[in-house]
Each structure stands twice: as structure tokens, then as C-alpha cells.
């Protein structure tokens, strides 16, 4: 029984660490900012998720203490990570838009415009009474 537990825990830990490493590797090897932004997602989701699950099991099954903080860590990361990604993407779009020297194009090229007349919020002030303008009250 402990053997199985050990295997499961070890597997989870290694899986998590592996995904963390792969994420960071992606950050290094992917060609431009937008692609690199995909790397860390692995670390936050499966990487840390597996690690934390391994930790919960480890403390519960091997050390006999119930520890639930790992779940909270995941919860907070799930709330915050997309925001970070969103803001970084905006930075990229903005720098691209304003022609900053250090901002090489993504291989996806510049983003197409939404619809016919509007533009993305990074480039145009969000219009009143739309979801995008919600905080401007």
C-alpha cells in the first residue's frame, strides 16, 4: 500500500516538476513573446497542480497531517495567472502598435481588427455601457 502511495506521490511530484521545467523551456525556446506566453501556463496549471496534489497526498498519507493550503494556492493561481497573461499580451500588443524597437513581431503577425469599425481595448478607449468599460464608472 505504502509502495503504491509512494509511487503515486513520486509520479505526481515528477510530473509536476517536469511540466514546470517544460514550461520554462518553452519560455526559452519559443520564437517570440506571444508564443512564449504559452509556456508558463503549463507550470501554473498542471505543473503546480500535480505538485500540490502530490503534496496533499504526501502530508495526508505519509505524514498524517491534513494540509489543504495547496488547494488554495491553486485557487489563487487560477484567478491570477490569466490576468497576468492578459496584461502581458496587452503590453506586447501596445509595444507592437507603437513600434517599440525591442518588440519583434510575433510569428502570428499583428492582430486583425475586430469587426469593421472598432478596435481592441489596448488601442482604443473602451466604449461606455459595454462589458469592456465596466470599471470606468
Amino acid at each position: 500500500m505504502t509502495m503504491i502511495v509512494d509511487i503515486v506521490i513520486s509520479a505526481l511530484v515528477l510530473l509536476g516538476a517536469g511540466f514546470v521545467l517544460i514550461g520554462s523551456w518553452g519560455l526559452v525556446r519559443l520564437p517570440s513573446t506571444m508564443e512564449r506566453l504559452h509556456g508558463p501556463t503549463k507550470a501554473t496549471t498542471l505543473g503546480l497542480g500535480a505538485l500540490l496534489l502530490g503534496s496533499v497526498l504526501y502530508f495526508q498519507l505519509r505524514l498524517g497531517t491534513w494540509s489543504a493550503h495547496e488547494l488554495l494556492i491553486s485557487l489563487f493561481l487560477f484567478i491570477t495567472a490569466p490576468i497576468s497573461a492578459n496584461m502581458i499580451a496587452k503590453v506586447h500588443l501596445h509595444r507592437l502598435h507603437t513600434g517599440a524597437l525591442s518588440e519583434p513581431d510575433s510569428i502570428a503577425g499583428p492582430p486583425p481588427r475586430p469587426g469593421d469599425d472598432g478596435d481592441w481595448a489596448t488601442f482604443a478607449e473602451p466604449q461606455q455601457d459595454t462589458p469592456a468599460a465596466t470599471a470606468n464608472t
Binding site: 526559452v28 506566453l37 505538485l51 497531517t65 495547496e70 525591442s102
Partner: protein, 89 residues
């Protein structure tokens, strides 16, 4: 076995940390550096968890929890600074 796994895992995450550092130094885009920093935060959380497991001590998890909660604030602030200059407006 778990000890082995934990050791290997921490080496892996430490390696990941160095990879982040490389990207951080290299850039070239500001966005790249910010992503690298943001990822570093994630990796440090992972390391804290691993350190806790290696020591059999769950007292460090609050640090990880706090980092998960407030670590992104600096990322956002950096982004907001580039986008708007003024981070509070």
C-alpha cells in the same frame, strides 16, 4: 523513493528557474522579461512546496499561498506601467 523524486523534482525546478533567468536577461521584448519574471514567481512557489515536502514541514505553505496571491501584483504593475505610465489613475 519519494525523497529521490523530490530531489529530482527540485533540481528540475531549479533548472527551470535558471531558464527563466536566461530569458529575463535576454529579453528582448519587455513582455518577454515580464513573462520570465512571472514564471519565476510560479517556479518559486513550486520550490517552496518542494522544500516544504522535503522538510516534512507545512509551515512554509503560507509563503507559497501569499506568493500565489500577491505575486501577480508586481507583474500587473509592470504591465500597467508600460501601458499607461501611471499605475494608479
Amino acid at each position: 523513493m519519494i525523497a529521490w523524486a523530490l530531489n529530482i523534482a527540485s533540481v528540475a525546478v531549479a533548472l527551470a528557474l535558471l531558464l527563466n533567468g536566461w530569458r529575463l536577461l535576454k529579453g528582448p521584448a519587455l513582455g518577454d522579461r515580464i513573462v520570465a519574471l512571472d514564471t519565476m514567481v510560479i517556479n518559486v512557489i513550486a520550490l517552496i512546496v518542494l522544500i516544504g515536502m522535503i522538510g516534512g514541514n507545512d509551515t512554509y505553505f503560507e509563503a507559497a499561498l501569499l506568493l500565489a496571491m500577491v505575486g501577480f501584483v508586481s507583474t500587473i504593475a509592470y504591465c500597467k506601467f508600460i501601458l499607461r505610465g501611471d499605475i494608479v489613475e
